[in-house]
Amino acid sequence: MGGSMRSDPISELSTDGPSDLRPVLAEESLDVLPLATAILVVEDSAMIAWTVESFLGQMGFTDIVMASTGEEAVALARKAPPGLIVSDINLGAGADGIDTAIAITSDGHIPVLFVSAYADDAVRQRIASHLPLAGLLCKPVQRDSFQAAVRNLLAPSAQ
């Protein structure tokens, strides 16, 4: 990796939280992004999903699919396994984003970035125990923070 890894706690870009979650870097990574990565966006709000898609598109990603429910996300992932999952946590009725991500990446090999208004201690604890490498950003999220988090998760050194 060309850029240096900082050990900023996740709280610098979101809210208070345990430092055992993967740090989300505010600075740009110098790694070359794997822009062919298939990205699955799981978000029940169309406007937020569209915004996330736009943020990803601005970074150069083109293979982006969107699901509005956990069940839809699992079905899409079965058809075409994603290389990155960007997910809300509260998806209304049905499975939430954490259970959905666990179901899709049962062995934890797919990077996950949660973008959610639900980021209390219980949520953080669930993420830390099931998906310790996942990132977490709190809504509303800034484009720069989001894109930095994606870079960090997809940087070759993070794989």
């Binding site: 029940d44 709000s45 169309a46 406007m47 937020i48 999903a49 569209w50 915004t51 736009s54 969107m66 509005s68 509260n90 209304g92 208004a117 639900y118 209390d120 709190c138 809504k139 509303p140 999220v141 484009r143």
Partner: protein, 339 residues
């Protein structure tokens, strides 16, 4: 319990008097306290046995005074996990005269006869009864206050989550509107318009306690000025939608209205617009039909509003829509399953 609940008292017996459950040899003043208190009052001797027990205590804990009189308090209303501390507290008080919970208020759980626990506010005082110290425990059932506090905490947390989500939606509207605007003036007009429509949908839902609201109310609100000047007519049965679909449909109608004002049926007073809806077995069908006085041209490219409609219909309404651009205006059809 001196340890966690009341203290102990000198031994005596109790009786009922005028619906009052009371140790018969309590002094008159103490008897009056038990008789008139609105809270459960328990009188305990130094050995931990019960000397007095008013009617509120009987109602609150399910034991009559005859059943508890002269027996250890810890057998009745102190949950097992607190009993050891209670006994230790009594011994400590007897040895040292110290009683850290005396003359204070605190919240703790007490045990009902049927085994369920009751949250109570407890205050313990001591007094002299025929020359010997006894303890008075005033126990107020705070189940309702506790439940109300829990409900309030849940509501505050939910409000916080909704506010954050709404801010994220507004942030998304700003981001996408900016991407479709040529100038800041264009952005301002489009952005504020979208926020106003969102606000109107929220107002209707708030009036309906965020449960379900009618399509007709949404249509009448968003199209109000055009209905008033005769350009628009709306018609349909009462069809109620949940918050998510309601807000999504509000966004769709807003984009149709905005397009209609700029290019279609709402651009001049001579044009006409008909918005109608039907429902059959939970499937909602909506039709927007413009009748323009002069020929209109279909847009050269899919604008941001049309993209927002397409995405909202597919992603949130889980339905299908079609735009039919005709010379006399747009006909838009939308079908979705009511959830």
């Amino acid at each position: 319990m001196i340890g966690r609940c009341l203290g102990q008292m000198d031994g005596d017996r109790g009786l009922y008097a005028n619906r009052l459950v009371l140790a018969h040899d309590l002094e008159p003043n103490l008897g009056a306290v038990l008789k008139t208190a609105l809270d459960a009052v328990v009188v305990m001797r130094f050995d931990g046995t019960i000397a007095g027990w008013n009617e509120v205590a009987a109602e609150t804990f399910g034991w009559t005074f005859d059943e508890v009189r002269d027996r250890p308090m810890s057998e009745f209303i102190i949950p097992p996990r607190y009993r050891e501390a209670h006994e230790r507290g009594l011994v400590h008080h007897l040895a040292t005269g110290e009683g850290p919970v005396l003359n204070t208020r605190f919240e703790i759980e007490a045990l009902h006869r049927d085994g369920h626990e009751i949250p109570i506010e407890l205050s313990i005082t001591s007094t002299t009864q025929f020359g010997e110290v006894v303890f008075l425990g005033f126990l107020r059932d705070i189940s309702e206050q506790r439940a109300a506090a829990q409900r309030q905490a849940l509501l505050v947390a939910e409000l916080n989550h909704r506010a954050k989500n709404l801010l994220a939606v507004v942030s998304g509207i700003a981001h996408m509107t900016l991407s479709g605007s040529g100038t800041l003036d264009e952005f301002e007009t489009a952005f504020i318009g979208r926020l106003q429509s969102l606000d109107q949908a929220h107002e209707i839902l708030t009036a309906a306690s965020w449960e379900k609201a009618a399509i007709g109310k949404l249509a009448a609100t968003l199209l109000k000025p055009y209905i008033a000047d005769g350009r628009a007519v709306i018609a349909g049965p009462e069809v109620m939608l949940g918050p998510r679909q309601f807000i999504s449909l509000g966004m769709v109608l807003h984009e149709l209205i905005t397009n209609g004002v700029r290019f279609g049926a709402l651009s001049t007073l001579r044009n006409r617009l008909s918005l109608s809806w039907t429902e059959c077995e939970d499937e909602v069908a909506i039709e927007w039909v413009e009748a323009c006085h002069r020929p209109v041209s279909p847009p050269a490219r899919q604008g941001l509003g049309t993209q927002m409609i397409t995405l909202g219909v597919r992603h949130e309404l889980k339905g299908e829509s079609e735009h039919d651009w005709r010379p006399d205006g747009l006909t838009f059809r939308l079908r979705f399953k009511r959830i």
